[in-house]
Amino acid sequence: MVETADNLKTKLRKFTFKALKATVKGVIFYVIYFVLWTMFLAHAAALVPGLQQIIETFVIVYIVLMVVGELTSGTIYRFFFDAAKALFVIGYLIFSLKGGVIDVSFENVNLLVDLRIFLSIAILLSLLGLAKSVLGAINFMSEKAEYAYV
């Protein structure tokens, strides 16, 4: 009975720590976004219609995946959420940057920005994150199997 209560307490403490860590990470990420937005990107938002909405959606989904990933740390699900985060970044960048070539028109002026180099680097970095999640999941499963065997 005492052992079960101690176990519950430890689990609760662990979860509280995870939740705190997730909150801190989420807040830090949001503060970075907020500072970058007010200092730099707000000026560009006046020129590019829908920029704020695109970035806000990205930040919300990213923070949610980050928080959920942090809450499920110590389980296999954490790696699933990390992989989902990496895939979301790749998909969202391709979608929002329209394949890397952005074509915007203001009255009779047509503006074309070629961000394919930037997009390629971002996708490569995300793929690295995805590879890290897959390797982490494999490592987690093999460690678990090792303990079970011992």
Partner: protein
């Protein structure tokens, strides 16, 4: 280790992207007063000075301006391209965008430009490499009115007066409106043919018409009475430093 490395790369990439986009606002373009020069071969060169002030964090690469002038049917009349390979951060560079138009060829090929007002289409493209790696291109289409230099060109009814027993003096009034953006200075040569297509007389007159002005003058011929007929035609030739055109055939009688 992979996590730290990717985080560092992400930070670099995000900072670079944001500062590159942010610093575009510190790149300033100023267009100077356009100038027109006439070359010896009759070509008109339009020069547009462009001042590029780069106060951004990064250098600008492959700056180029391309202008294409075409008529309503899409036929290209003039084309010009200027480029600056490199503008360093904190530097100011002046480039000159030149465009050459051969008016003589243009008007000989299509007399519409001489006698009728029309519209020209200008397609301009401005491109540069922000931070030398992000290509940005802005393009615009606009229409500009073309004013004909000999708009509503008219040769009036010939008036004949006996000059002596063998010749008559024929006076023909000439009028037109110079709708062009340039002055016309040159000569107009007129040949008078009778109804048998024989040359009856030849005359030339100096023309000096300021832009956006009305010209009113006349040409005089000393014509042998034997070659005078009620009907016939005039052949008009225009000779100016900018262009030469002719013959313009106008019947009379």
């Amino acid at each position: 280790m992979i996590g730290i490395a990717t985080t560092i790369f992400w930070i670099f990439l995000i900072i670079f992207a944001i500062t590159a986009v942010y610093s575009i606002k510190d790149v300033n373009f100023e267009f100077g007063e356009p100038q027109m020069n006439i070359a010896e071969d009759g070509e008109m060169v339009f020069s547009l000075p462009i001042n590029i002030t780069n106060r951004s964090f990064y250098n600008i690469g492959f700056f180029n301006v391309t202008t294409k002038v075409s008529d309503e049917n899409g036929h290209v009349i003039a084309e010009g391209s200027s480029s600056v390979p490199f503008v360093k951060s904190g530097e100011k560079v002046t480039a000159t965008h030149n465009m050459t138009v051969n008016f003589s060829d243009l008007m000989q090929n299509n007399q519409n430009y001489l006698f009728n007002d029309t519209e020209l289409k200008i397609f301009t493209t401005l491109g540069m490499g922000v931070a030398e790696v992000i290509p940005v291109q802005a393009s615009t289409n606009m229409s500009v009115p073309w004013g004909a230099p000999f708009y509503n060109f008219l040769l009036g009814t010939p008036e004949r007066v006996a000059f002596n027993s063998t010749h008559a003096m024929v006076t023909v009034p000439v009028s037109f409106e110079n709708h062009a953006f340039f002055d016309i200075t040159g000569t107009m040569q007129v040949q008078m043919y009778n109804d048998a297509d024989l040359l009856a007389g030849e005359s030339q007159t100096a023309i000096d018409a300021l832009h956006y002005s009305f010209y009113n003058g006349y040409v005089e011929f000393y014509v042998p009475i034997t070659r005078l007929t009620r009907t016939g035609h005039f052949e008009v030739y225009f000779l100016t430093p900018l262009f030469s055109y002719g013959p313009l055939v106008i019947p009379y009688g």
